[in-house]
């Protein structure tokens, strides 16, 4: 089956001190309809940049996106004009932002903003939009939606605002929903509710989700497939079960041992020594070289390509010989 989204060789560059520096490069992935793909990685590794670049949400003056192809429903959206792109936004690909406090317009009621999300592409009759909004608010689990419809964002709790954000992303029934750390700003109990809601809505609508997070717990809960990013590159892409039982890349292994677990009695958590290389000073070889426990001589000067192993792919020379098995 043809994938819903097929990203080939995506590269995002930022202008730093008048020079263009790649924040994300050599990104390839596919997304099937109804699938949940998560992108995990440390802060600053390029997760959000990757997601935002799909919708071209990065400021044009400082960011430059290039790709061989970004096929969405068989159409290359990387070559679309800005006007054509507005038709993809919301309708084809929706986005849920991280911070619901700042992502809603403070001067408009929740209801008006949601109406706007329905009306922007003229998919709903203006006379019926209020009812549609109220129904959607109810669907995302907001109690007394008629009342909430009239309220302003600051009158809602964080969890409720995030539900409104989800409703706005869902209003036009996009085929793909990008959720950029949708639960980071919420406390743990609300987090679980929001994830539950996302899952439920996904089952109902059949949308694919690209979930960005740094929380391995969220990943385990939600993902069908996981992409692990490090310093602007994908280092591993595996089905969820495989990644947790049999992590391939040394970085993934490091990440997994760094998660606190209640079934193991240890005094100190394992940490990955060292720091992420900076954008302006990327090593020539493997970007994880400095911190890697299984580094080899060739890793220093040569950037490993992505090797395929079963359903997974991994960017590490450890798998060179075994490639194509």
């Amino acid at each position: 089956m043809e994938p819903l989204l097929d990203v080939r060789n995506l590269k995002v560059e930022f202008k730093i001190d008048k020079k263009w520096v790649a924040a994300v490069e050599d990104v390839h992935f596919q997304l099937k309809a109804g699938e949940t793909l998560t992108i995990v990685g440390e802060s600053g590794c390029g997760k959000s940049v990757t997601a935002m670049s799909m919708l071209r949400l990065l400021p044009k003056t400082t960011a430059q996106i290039s790709a061989d192809e970004i096929l969405f429903q068989g159409r290359d959206i990387s070559k679309l004009s800005d006007t054509e792109m507005t038709k993809i936004r919301g309708q084809g690909i929706g986005m849920i932002f991280q911070d619901s406090m700042t992502s809603l317009n403070p001067v408009k009621t929740v209801g008006k903003q949601l109406d706007e999300a329905f009306l922007v592409h003229g998919s709903v009759d203006p006379a019926e939009v209020k009812q549609a909004s109220i129904n959607l608010l109810r669907e995302v689990g907001i109690s007394s939606p008629e009342q909430r419809y009239k309220e302003y964002p600051h009158q809602l709790s964080g969890g409720m605002r995030q539900r409104v954000m989800i409703a706005m992303a869902l209003a036009q029934q996009p085929a793909i929903i990008i959720a950029d750390e949708p639960t980071t700003a919420l406390d743990v109990t609300i987090q679980a509710q929001i994830l539950e809601l996302l899952k439920k809505l996904q089952e109902k609508s059949g949308s694919a989700i690209i979930l960005i997070t740094h929380d391995m717990g969220v990943v385990a809960e939600m993902a069908d497939r996981i992409i692990v990013m490090y310093a602007g590159m994908f280092v591993e892409c595996s089905p969820t079960k495989d990644l947790f039982t049999n992590p391939l890349h040394p970085y993934t292994r490091g990440l997994l041992t760094a998660i606190p677990r209640k079934d193991m009695d240890i005094d100190r958590l394992n940490v990955i020594e060292g720091t992420v290389p900076t954008l302006t000073d990327m090593p020539k070889g493997c970007r994880f070289y400095d911190r890697c426990e299984s580094r080899m001589e060739r890793c220093k000067n040569e950037l490993p390509p992505l090797y395929t192993r079963g359903e997974s792919s991994v960017r590490c020379f450890l798998f060179d010989a075994k490639d194509g098995e």
């Binding site: 919708l55 949400l57 400021p59 003056t61 006007t83 507005t86 038709k87 993809i88 936004r89 919301g90 309708q91 929706g94 986005m95 932002f97 911070d99 700042t102 992502s103 809603l104 317009n105 403070p106 001067v107 408009k108 009621t109 706007e116 999300a117 922007v120 592409h121 309220e151 302003y152 964002p153 600051h154 009158q155 954000m165 706005m168 992303a169 209003a171 036009q172």
Partner: protein, 287 residues
């Protein structure tokens, strides 16, 4: 949030405004003044143009409470009508400045790039003119009527609004809710008008009050110099013009002191109201 127009929010804003003593004093003075300017002429049957041939430059009396000027016109009537002119010129020219300045600031801040450079540099050039001299020249070239004075003062005041709007647009366009509007597929025009403009209006409203006060002063200065509103039309500025004569200045204070006091009171009141609005819109102020 800073500018949400919601019933409870609006109530908070009003509460803070009412609690602001100076702003309340200013508001009361201004309201009384406006009521007087609007209704006194018909109640008291005032006429600023008719000449009383029996008294030229007469001191205050029962018939003329503030006396008459050197051509026998009732000074009180002129003071009230002058208030109409001064306030109208002040408010209208501030509106003109606002209507030119805000859209330009919005466009410059939103589109950036070349548009921004052109608009903001033109604003800089305008700001480096000595505006009083420019107003003097324009007023004498274009003729001296209430309309031209209003337009000229208004036109030269746009830079303040442009810079103010531009600055707040720059910060607001980077806000997450603008990005979420882009993400639902809004077009740039809508984003500008529906998301950025309403959120950048608070400082503009405040600046509008100060601009009005300033325009009243500019009009008065112009009229005082004989280049603003021309007699027989009265304005506070050209009433003060009498004070240029030493004998009036010394011997007939009833001719010019009231206009001076009213001018100062009005400008102070408007500035206090502006202060009050600023504090009231600031959600961080305690109630």
């Amino acid at each position: 949030m800073a500018t949400a127009k919601q019933s409870s929010y609006l109530r908070d804003v009003l509460k803070r405004f009412f609690a602001h003593k100076l702003a309340m004093v200013g508001a009361i003075i201004l309201i009384i003044e406006i009521l007087a300017i609007l209704f006194l002429p018909s109640i008291m049957n005032l006429d600023p143009y008719s000449i009383d041939y029996m008294s030229f430059g007469a001191p205050p009396s029962a018939a003329h409470i503030l006396g008459t000027d050197d051509v026998g016109r009732d000074n009180f009537a002129r003071l009230i009508y002058g208030g109409r002119v001064s306030l109208t010129v002040g408010i209208l020219s501030a509106i003109v400045s606002l209507l030119i300045g805000v859209p330009l600031g919005l466009i410059a801040g939103f589109f950036r790039g070349k548009t921004e450079v052109v608009i903001m540099r033109v604003a800089d050039i305008f700001m480096s003119f000595p505006s009083m001299i420019l107003i003097l020249v324009l007023a004498s070239v274009l003729g001296q009527s209430i309309t031209t004075v209003t337009l000229v003062i208004g036109f030269l005041g746009w830079t303040e609004f442009t810079r103010l709007t531009y600055a707040s647009v720059l910060s607001i366009r980077e806000k997450d809710y603008v990005q979420s509007a882009v993400a639902i597929g809004e077009k740039s025009k809508n984003i500008m008008v529906k998301y950025i403009l309403p959120n950048s209006l608070a400082p503009v409203i405040i600046s509008f009050t100060f601009r009005t006060a300033q325009a009243i002063i500019t009009e008065s200065s112009l009229s005082f110099l004989g280049l603003g509103v021309q007699p027989p039309d009265p304005s506070w500025g050209n009433i003060l013009y009498y004070a240029q004569s030493i004998s009036v200045l010394a011997n007939q204070p009833y001719l010019w002191v009231p206009a001076g006091i009213l001018l100062v009171l009005t400008v102070l009141s408007i500035n206090f109201i502006g202060d009050g609005i600023r504090d009231a819109l600031d959600t961080k102020m305690s109630i």
